[in-house]
Every structure is written in C-alpha cells, then in structure tokens.
C-alpha cells in the first residue's frame, strides 16, 4: 500500500478510536481527501499536502493532543516515507 495512504488511513482509524465517527467527517473536509471508512481512503493531488492538511484539520478542532496522536499512529510507517517528504508538523 502507498505509504501516504497507509499513513492517512492509520491516522483516521486512531482518531476514530478516540472521538468516533467525527474523525471521518473531519477527514472528508480536507481538500484532496475522500474517505469512506478508515480503510477506504482516496488521495488526489499532492500527498504530502493532503497528509499535512489532515493533521491540521484535527489540530484545529482538538488541539495539540491530536497531533501527538497522529504521530503515534504513523509510527509503523515512519521508515517508509523519507524525512524530507514528511510534513513538518509530523516530524519528531
């Protein structure tokens, strides 16, 4: 699976386990992202931007704690995306 799609999917599922279906609703508000369920994710356009947009969307509503959650969620995928292609907000 494309590492960006995997990252996005993992983040949405993790957020879902904390706040429920609102996580999917919010994800759909991000430009370039279309989500059916946590497993059904479509990205169009610049993947790095979409990933960043997703993290920011959650941060806007839920604050800093949600950024930490995003970072934890993509831990298994960190080695699949080169550091330069990772949005700053997700860098450790």
């Amino acid at each position: 699976m494309d590492p960006y799609v995997e990252a996005v999917s993992r983040i949405i599922k993790e957020q879902q386990s904390i706040i429920g279906p609102v996580a999917v609703d919010q994800a759909n508000k991000v430009t370039g992202l279309s989500v059916g369920t946590g497993d059904d994710v479509q990205i169009s356009g610049n993947k790095k931007q979409v990933l960043e947009g997703l993290v920011n969307q959650y941060a806007k509503l839920f604050g800093k704690a949600s950024i930490e959650v995003c970072k934890e969620a993509i831990e298994p995928v960190y080695d699949k995306i080169p550091v330069g292609d990772l949005p700053d907000i997700l860098k450790n």
Partner: protein, 449 residues
Amino acid sequence: MVSEDKIRVFLKLQQLALDIEESTKLLEQFLPAVLQDLNLAGSQYIFLAALFIDDSGNIKQTFFTDKSNNQTAGQVTKPENFLQKGSEWEMKVMYGEAAVISDVAYFINPAYPEISKIHSLLMLPIQHAQKLSGVLILARSKTADQISAEEIEFGEMITRLVNLSFRLQDTEGSLTKITQQVYEMNAKLHQLDKLKDDFVSVASHELRTPMTAIRSYVWMALHRSDVPLSQKLEKYLYRTLVSTERLISLVNDMLNVSRIESGHIEINPQSFDIVALVRDIMEEVKVKADEKRLQLLTLEQKLPPVFADSDKVHEILLNLIGNAMKFCYPGGTIAVSFFTDGQMVDISIKDSGAGIMKDDLSKLFHKFSRLDNSYTAVSTSGGTGLGLYISKSLIDLMHGKIWVTSEGVDKGATFSFSLPIASQQVLQHAEQFQVKAKGEVKPLEPATI
C-alpha cells in the same frame, strides 16, 4: 427611520457575520468589514472600537479597527475613560442610550496619527440579555452637533450585529475549549485502555508458565509416581490438579472477557452446518463424558445452513455442553436438539442435572454470578463464573439470543441460543453481521472443559 440602502448594508453585514467560518477569530474579521461598509455607505468613521465588560463592569476584551488595521484599542484610546463611573456618557450608556462626545482628547492617545481628523465620538451601548455587555465607539469626522437621528438608529442596529458576532465567537471559543478537553480525556482513556490490554496480555502470559508447571508436576505425582500413593495423598493431589486447571481456565476466560470488552474480537460470519458442528463437538467431549458416565444425545434434524462465525459458535457450544457436563449427575444425559421458525435456528442443550431455581435464572449471564452452593455442590470442578457471560457477549455480537429454562432444583436445565439462517436476505446484508475489531484483532483463548 433608517434609509433603504443602510438597511441593505445591515443585512449584508448580518449575513457576513453568519458566514464567517473561522468563528474563533470572528470579530477580528468582522469589524474591519463593518467599518469598511459603513464608510462605503458614506459614514466617514475614522476608527471603530468595541469594548466588552464582564458582570462586574470590568473590561474583559477590546477590539479596534481603522484604515491601517494594525493597532489596538489600548494603543489608540484610553478604554477605562469610556466607562468612567459617574460620567455623563457612562450614565447615558448605562441607561441604554447613545452618547455623543466632543472632548475627543480625553479619550484618544495624542500620538495617534489620525487624531486631527476626529471631531466627535459616538458611543453606543451593546446590550445582551437586557444588560450592558459593552460599548461600540465610532470616531466621527463630523462634529457632535452634526449628528442625525438616523445615524444613531443605524448605529444601534450595528451594535446588535456586534453583539451577535461576539456571542458567536465566545460560544465557539467555549466549544473549542470543551472539545479539546474532551478529546484529551478520551485520548488518555484510550491510552489507558491500551496499557490495560498489554498488561492483561503480559500478566496472563506470565501467569501461565508457572501454572502449566504446577499442573504438569501434580499430574506426574498422580500418574507417574514412583511410590504408591495413599488415598489421602491422592485426594490432595487430585484437588490441587483440579484447582490448577480451574485457575488456568480462569486466566483464559479473563483474557477473553478483556478482549471482548475492548472490542478486539472480530466476528467473521460464514454459512455452515450447525448440526455438523454439534456432532463434532460431541465427539470432542466424548472421552470426558464417558469418564463421568454421561450419555450424549444429538437429536439431528435437516436444517438450512446458519450464518455466523463458526469459531465463536464452537466456543459457545463447548461452554454450554461443558456446563451441562459439570452439573449432571453421573449416569445422566445431555441432549442437544434444534428448532427453527424459518428465520432463526434455536440450539438447545438439555441436561438432567442439578437444575436452577427460578430466582437464580436471571443471574446467570452476568460476570461471576454465584449461585447458592446448596444445589450446585455437585459441580466440584466448578466453573470460572465467566463462561456464560462470554457466551452471551459473543451471541450478542452475532445478533442472536441466549436463554435458559429450568423446572427447578434437580429437574435439569435447558440452555438455548439462536443463530440466523443463511437466507437470501441475510446473505445480502452480510456486512451487517460482520464485526470488525477496534485496533488489533485478538483470538479467543480456547475453552477448556
């Protein structure tokens, strides 16, 4: 009476206030638009300021906007002067009236570059819930005597919009704060839940090694002893063995309960032959049943396939048949029968054993339900107290029902559960019967009899 084009401006601004998405910074975006539109309509205001007070009359927030839009109310004006107690304007505003002030220098920082253009100030009360919640200040280029009733009336209309926006922003701010707090608490709970799961897993795993060792050596002492065992010794060892097995079952059950409650159990339904499954299980338990001289009967019947997760049904059957064997007297019978109404298949496990008192029937499917020992003494091996709870939880996940009937003490008991038939309708909505695990999928620990 306010003119038509001023009303148009008002409606436009009202819509703008409602349309602004970023409500936590509403006033910062809204007020400059207000000033701009007022001036486009011909008002000639140099700046617009809004002060909001709390219940004690102290200023809690200020807003300021002028052409350059990069200064604050505190820099340009002396906000406390606007609400100076006992002053002529303060009393007017307290009564809900507009005040027009000529003594501009008293209120404005002389360093303000536009000060020479300001010749009067229009102070309007901002009301909320019939109380004064703040003041709107419009810096006019015209002099105090050059003011019309229309201007004041229009200004009053504008204060309502400013109030609306302030309330929206405030509510949004509160909501955001609350949302963030709730999120943080949920995140913590989620974390604790994960830790608890890890702990339960590790603890169970660590417990099992010594338990397996105890059970193994007690078994050896009983069955591979190099010296003959006295009756007493045999009894002691036997009871130790039974207790250890109970302990192992308990750890397995607790692990299962933890996994079910945390949503780590998946339900993957398929169509299968329930009668065949029952037949297999009866084979599985035959050895144990023979040990206790129990008769096993399966009243077979031609049935359509059911739609459920066969692994989980396997566990439930083992639990119910295992219970039946525990509570049956030696020489007794356990019979499994089926019934269908075309939609569901009911599977009933009837035993000829100790039975259950009517009052106790409802207690059975809860965790660690303990029945009065007086009539359950036949079950020396006991159960963990969790088996029925686990069975019920699994049945609930599979959209079935589980229930028990008994004529009373020593009259046996019948435990039944139902599963949906794999009809066209059911198969079409197969996804509704699927249950996905939250996070990691975990298996069920095997049921022991």
